[in-house]
């Protein structure tokens, strides 16, 4: 069975220790975790997590089943990527040279990114898009000189009326 990436959405109790419990499960069961993103929902008692993991078809079922078993996990499911809105938020700080500004701004605009901080020698861009788009932005930025990158992890919601 081939290794692929999967996106898992989980609704979890919003209290002390839940994040540790979930990351520990991944450690204990030897599951590969690529990114984990968490934030409180409209209901302050619940947080929503989006976990990107890598594994074969057998492992992905095990991940969902083992997650579902945790007392603090109210619901966990695989979110199929083409039936979902998938976004990742990224901040990236680049070197600014005297004669690179025009080309750099053109690139930033073409990605729909925003400049949110500017100094004599640097700029910080805010990029939101599919994770592959953010990968591409990083590659395209290398020529200018990347100082720092801060990626938030993938977020995903089902398309249409389907909910977790």
């Amino acid at each position: 069975m081939s290794e692929q990436r999967i996106i898992i959405g989980a609704l979890v109790n919003n209290h002390f220790g839940v994040l540790m419990r979930i990351t520990e499960l991944f450690t204990k069961r030897c599951y590969n975790i690529d990114s984990l993103e968490v934030g409180v929902t409209d209901d302050p008692a619940l947080s929503r997590m989006t976990i990107v993991a890598t594994g074969d078809a057998h492992t992905e079922v095990q991940i969902v089943q083992q997650l579902s078993k945790l007392h603090d996990v109210r619901r966990a499911a695989i979110i199929p990527v083409e039936r979902a809105s998938v976004r990742e938020h990224m901040l990236i700080k680049l070197k600014v040279g005297a004669n690179t500004n025009a080309a750099l701004m053109a690139m930033i605009n073409s990605y729909g990114a925003k400049v949110i901080d500017f100094s004599a020698d640097t700029l910080t861009a805010e990029v939101t898009g599919a994770p592959e788009g953010n990968d591409a932005f990083i590659e395209a930025s290398r020529d200018y000189g990347i100082l720092e990158v801060c990626r938030a992890g993938v977020q995903a919601l089902h398309c249409g009326t389907e909910c977790l």
Binding site: R5, G17, E24, K28, V61, H71, V81
Partner: protein
């Protein structure tokens, strides 16, 4: 690894093909939001809430060790000593094993109390033992004041963090108002669905703080308002399982510890008779089926009985009930599964497909699943299969050697002659454990207490204390005679609990199978390491009988088989703990044995 799993992949996956229903996982939530919704009751302290909750949940005995951060709980126990018996052990590990033994013997939740820091960390092996064998346990630890948490205060440790991987669930309670709901929820989680240990860490100031939140009704009581769940198995999975059994010729039931937890031994037997199957048990499921029942082929796995292992290998359908396909039970997975279909029935959906891919899965209550299957299947007789099973049994009986010297079989036979079917038999871990599992004839459920999953040397004496008290408290009679089989290695680990057995005046007969070596490891060194006995020859001069006497128990040493009967007669007549140090040969081996990762064809016989 770039590509993401697509809808097509996911529709094709095992969740769908097994009709697995994520919603079948049940989670008790008596504690959630309880503090907000409940009407206010009389004011009580955290310590009062803890002890009164224990009483409300029917706890009659707790095991523990007092200390600085649980003084308030112990003060409450003092005031409720008429309702709860507290057993102080020699070491917190012994308390955890005792609560475990109590739970295994009675089916009730075992309760442990320990102080912060080392008190809490000493519990870790005991909690892990209960976790691996799915034993219901509630562990209460004290911790330093909430204001001192995180400051590396005296005897402060993050036991919450430490026990996440080895508990079914755990808590640190920082607000006394959460305590009543948390305790009720902890008991519910520990004992529901697949049981397991639950830890509650309670800082000292939470024990002394007061609140007016009343105690909720225990989960499962009519008054708690919780409805018992109704089982809904996927009809397609049920039909697939029924079709596989209807079409098969050689059905074999693999019965595990889940059958004991569910109290479903009778239903498994009825099912076996209905479809005319042979039954093999994992070590954890050994007592679910009476040894004398004609369907019972005995233990399966690495040191299983030959007939049971060969029957599994020859079967065309294996119906696995309440098992998790441990590597010690399956050996080489590919060979174990080759040429046969598997049906898996288990309360825990995460066990489906974890170790062995199955053809039909029923995640839910065992009796309900078996009831559905029997409703879809006619009663059949399989004369050819039964004839083959009978032949396998006859072959096996041919291997039984006679014993004229002191060895495990003789010891077990002589002990069995002095016990009844109700006697609880406890073991430690190693060769003696396997000899007991292979040779002792268990007729009633829960009578064999042993550390299966974790394989904890040092488990036995604490567990025997818990089992003895559990049996005695349940029947409200004289303490029931309890037997501990142990080895000189295992017994050496936690023999300090002899002090507890003496203090509690428990009639535990301790049989030490003393070969002066770490026998199971030595056996592997003999078989797989060219007889290089690295660090397994102990070279000790411990006189266990004298040591028992020093603890205030009785003890004697037996080397000659002719003096065994008299020694056992005396031991079984004693009113307190009695130890017999039995000298056996260091080169006696546990056979049959399937080498690790091996197959039925690789079986080593005596």
């Amino acid at each position: 690894m770039g590509r993401y799993r697509t809808v097509t992949d996911i529709q094709d996956n095992r969740l769908e093909s097994l009709c697995w229903q994520p919603t079948t996982i049940r989670k008790p939530t008596v504690g959630k939001g309880f503090a907000d919704s409940a009407s206010t009751g009389a004011t009580q302290t955290g310590a009062q809430i803890i002890v009164r909750s224990l009483i409300k949940h029917g706890v009659d005995v707790v095991f523990g060790y007092p200390g600085g951060q649980v003084l308030d709980i112990y003060d409450e126990l003092y005031q409720h000593s008429g309702q709860i018996r507290h057993v102080t052990t020699a070491h917190e590990q012994g308390a955890a094993h005792a609560a475990d033994g109590y739970a295994r013997a009675t089916g009730k939740v075992g309760v442990v109390i320990a102080t912060s820091g080392p008190g809490a960390t000493n519990l870790v092996t005991g909690i892990a033992t209960a976790y691996l064998d799915s034993i219901p346990q509630v562990v209460i630890t004290g911790n330093v004041d909430t204001a001192l948490l995180g400051k590396d205060s005296f005897q402060e440790i993050d036991i919450f963090g430490i026990t996440i991987p080895i508990t079914k669930h755990n808590y640190i309670v920082k607000d006394v108002a959460d305590l009543p709901g948390t305790l009720a929820e902890a008991f519910a989680i520990a004992s529901s669905a697949r049981p397991g240990p639950v830890l509650i860490d309670v800082p000292r100031d939470v024990q002394t703080a007061v609140c007016a939140v009343p105690l909720p009704e225990p989960f499962g009581n009519a008054a708690s308002g919780e409805k018992p769940p109704t089982e809904a198995f996927c009809p397609a999975a049920l039909q697939r399982a029924a079709d596989l059994i209807a079409a098969c010729e050689r059905p074999y039931i693999y019965c595990g510890g889940g059958v004991l937890s569910a109290g479903a031994g009778k239903q498994v037997l009825a099912f076996a008779e209905h479809i005319d199957a042979g039954i093999g048990c994992s070590m954890m499921g050994l007592t679910a089926i009476p040894a004398s029942h004609p369907c019972n082929l005995g233990m399966t796995g690495m040191h299983g009985r030959e007939a049971s292992i060969r029957a599994q290998a020859q079967a065309d359908v294996v119906i696995a009930i309440g098992v998790r396909f441990s590597d010690r039970a399956t050996g080489n997975n590919a060979h174990y599964t080759a040429g046969k279909s598997f049906i898996h029935i288990d309360i825990d959906p995460a066990e489906i497909d974890k170790n062995v891919g199955v053809d039909a899965a029923l995640a839910g209550e065992i009796p309900a699943a078996l009831g559905h299957l029997m409703g879809r299947l006619p009663v059949v007789r399989r004369a050819a299969w039964q004839k083959r099973l009978a032949a396998l049994r006859a072959d096996e009986d041919g291997h039984t050697p006679s014993t004229s010297r002191l060895d495990a079989r003789l010891l077990i036979r002589e002990v069995r002659a002095r016990t009844d079917d109700d006697t609880f038999v406890v073991t430690d871990v190693g060769q003696h454990q396997m000899w007991v599992a292979q040779n002792y004839r268990f007729e009633k459920p829960r009578r064999f207490l042993t550390s299966g999953g974790l394989g904890t040397m040092g488990f036995g004496l604490g567990a025997a204390i818990g089992a003895c008290l559990g049996a005695s408290l349940t029947t409200r009679a004289r303490p029931k005679k309890t037997v501990l089989f142990t080895g000189d290695g295992s017994f050496g680990m936690n023999l300090n609990e002899m002090a507890t057995a003496v203090a509690q005046r428990l009639p535990i007969v301790v049989i030490v199978m003393n070969n002066g070596v770490l026998g199971m490891v030595r056996q592997w060194q003999t078989l797989f390491f060219g007889g290089r006995y690295s660090q397994t020859t102990l070279g000790r001069a411990t006189d266990f009988a004298a040591l028992a006497r020093a603890f205030g128990a009785e003890g004697r040493r037996v080397e000659d088989p002719k003096s065994l009967a008299a020694a056992l007669d005396t031991a079984f007549a004693a009113t307190g703990p009695y130890l017999i140090d039995c000298i056996i040969d260091p080169d006696d081996q546990v056979l049959p044995m399937i080498p690790p990762g091996g197959t039925a064809g690789d079986m080593l016989l005596g």
